[in-house]
Amino acid sequence: MTFEYAPAPESRDIAALKPSYRMFLDGEFVEGTGEPLKTLNPATEEVLTEVSTASIADVDKAVKAAHRAYDRVWSRMPGSERAKYLFRIARMIQERSRELAVLETLDNGKPIKESRDVDVPLAAAHFFHHAGWADKLAYAGYGPDPRPLGVAAQVIPWNFPLLMAAWKIAPALACGNTVVLKPAETTPLTALVLAEICQQADLPPGVVNILPGAGEIGAELVAHPEVHKVAFTGSTEVGKQIQETVAGTAKKLTLELGGKAANIVFDDAALDQAVEGIVNGIFFNQGHVCCAGSRLLVQESIAEELLERLQARIGTLRVGDPMDKNTDVGAINSAAQLARIRELTEIGDAEGAVRWTSSCPLPDKGYFFAPTVFSEVQQAMRIAQEEIFGPVLSVLTFRTPEEAIKKANNTPYGLSAGVWSEKGSRILWATQQLRAGVVWANTFNRFDPVSPFGGYQESGFGREGGRAGLEAYLNV
């Protein structure tokens, strides 16, 4: 049965797009002295706007501004006052939530229902949660008077542009640090609106600085000698480079890197729920999720039935215009990422996995990739080992619970994992055995500011969220 839906597009005007955006330095929007970049709508390949970027000299200016703000204002301010600034920012994100959601969807390509229901509300929630910590740090378990570190250099990815900015800025500020943040090259816009919110909230100049730019600006920022803390979310490859850069310094480092999460379905799982969870696990945000459930491990006895139901369900996903409220899967963020997904899936074909692709229609323009499932995947295949970061699921099977765990843990990563079973003891056992920082049992891809997030092994170190996440921004 097919349901027909009339298009229900969100209005582009709500994003209040400006012809140009500038970087945010020391409380002012100023022209960066780097080469300006044009940011695209990946769903249409049209230029949205021009953004001025930072040069190496701008990085130095921003770090110095953050330093001044730290020394003169922010580190001396009582926590209760810092808290009120953060509460204000949280409220303003809520007030401008529709604008932010539309802008995020235009710049990133993610479906409007996700930016509206996930990214923006969670960003506000992160500020709201951390606001409350600012004057309660003595109760966080790091001693009676934990101190901030200083200037935090933060580099974030393009998959959750506003949300990642919130994950980085909110705990840093709550703990008394000041921030220089570099948004991703392809998605700088919502972070700059967040800068506007900081300005409207009367946040003292220099406490938050936002510098758009490419990778080399991020590299410059984390290498700056007056930075005391480095926080990075992105690929394991770049994470390793940053860890090398920071080596031999006193900078505190936290890394949230790639993943290749196993989503394990046992034979006693509630299959309809599991199917929904698998779909959410890999197709949420086009699979541009470091913790995506990209490896489905299914018990052999139910593999055939599950795969059939899964394909039927995936076939109903609507892929296309991210601005349409009915859209389930939006646009791939960039041409480069689309090329990477194509390359890895071709390797999957070459290595002998069996490809199934949803027959959904794709738009003529824009960067789109149809939901894809590889079955008969073996552990040694690259599509079972490497992060594809797209709407591509690799299916492996297992016979015993022990085998499932062995296969699940057989990657250098360890960010997240999923378990599906109706048997409580088996769930608790499996969650203990999995070497991953977040385990979703009978659910997947849930996030909350009170819930610590972060990886084992080469998925990085340090946690974001909750009491544990404060450690990254305190001198403890």
Partner: protein, 289 residues
């Protein structure tokens, strides 16, 4: 020491996988006391010994990390018991190694014993202190628990031969990790005697592996080894620290940087070392009828 008889001198060997092998390289190096007088030959561990030690630690990890916190606490307490029984021996060895007066050596040994007791008491409190339930905004039960990071390579302090060593290895195994430690290069003998204590303390073989030899020779292999999850640079030579940290980045190891100078180990520690070698795992499950 009696004048009539010749004492039986001890052969100082490595401690790997619960056994006491010599270095596979056949090498040894002379260890002298603070006045330069010969004490003994210590095994000079090689790259291959280091890899054997990592393999032993990896093999021991599933069992030790899955042991109950109560069990781990009792094993650590047992180490203190065994150490207490050899108190006089350690006082002499520490005096020889460090050139400290007897009163100071007594303090160092007594504090080392007490440190095992302190960490023994931590094993079953870590999950309560570092983990807990998280009140997420939705119909889910969400909780976080600390879990051991894995295999931890430790470059032991170069000055404090026993108390410094105990202060860096006890938190590793208290948290459920397994450990490969490179003893202080020029003062390794107390570490070998400590191995004998460990071997008789119900500590499963491989949980703690002790190498003696050249720190600068062994450290790069440990920093690069993909089966090592964390690296403590406490006793790393200053000239090597940055390079070791760069090497460790190749496999995203957790790195504990070296202190500017060796700390006063007699001060009761806080839980930083424990926390640095634990991963926090967060589990979600729906709540519903």
């Amino acid at each position: 020491m009696s004048d009539e008889r010749l004492a039986v001198a001890k052969t100082y060997k490595l401690y790997i996988g619960g056994k006491f092998p010599r270095s596979e390289s056949g090498r040894s190096y002379p260890v002298v006391d603070h006045r330069g007088a010969f004490l003994a030959n210590a095994s000079q561990a090689s790259r291959k010994d280091a890899r054997e030690a990592v393999a032993a630690a990896r093999k021991a990890f599933p069992g030790w990390s899955a042991a109950t916190a109560y069990n781990r606490g009792q094993v650590l307490y047992r180490v203190a018991e065994m150490l207490e029984g050899r108190r006089d021996q350690f006082i002499h060895e520490v005096m020889d190694a460090e050139g400290v007066a007897q009163r100071r050596a007594q303090l160092l040994v007594d504090t080392a014993i007490d440190r095992w007791v302190w960490y023994a008491g931590w094993t079953d409190k870590l999950a309560t202190v570092l983990g807990g339930a998280n009140p997420v905004a939705g119909p889910y039960f969400n909780f976080s628990v600390p879990e051991p990071t894995g295999v931890v390579a430790v470059l032991a302090p170069q000055v404090s031969s026993l108390l410094g060593l105990v202060s860096v290895i006890a938190p590793v195994i208290a948290g459920g990790n397994t450990c490969v430690v490179v003893a202080g290069q020029n003062r390794p003998l107390p570490s070998v005697t400590l191995s004998e204590v460990l071997a008789t303390s119900d500590l499963p073989g491989g949980v703690l592996n002790v190498l003696t030899g050249r720190t600068a020779e062994l450290a790069p292999w440990l920093a690069a080894h993909a089966e090592v999850n964390a690296l403590d640079l406490c006793g790393a030579p200053e000239s090597l620290r940055r390079d070791l940290e760069v090497t460790a980045a190749g496999t995203v190891k957790r790195v504990l940087r070296a202190p500017v100078a060796e700390p006063e180990w007699t001060i009761t520690p806080d839980i930083r070392r424990l926390r640095a070698l634990l991963e926090l795992k967060t589990v979600w499950h729906p709540v519903g009828t």
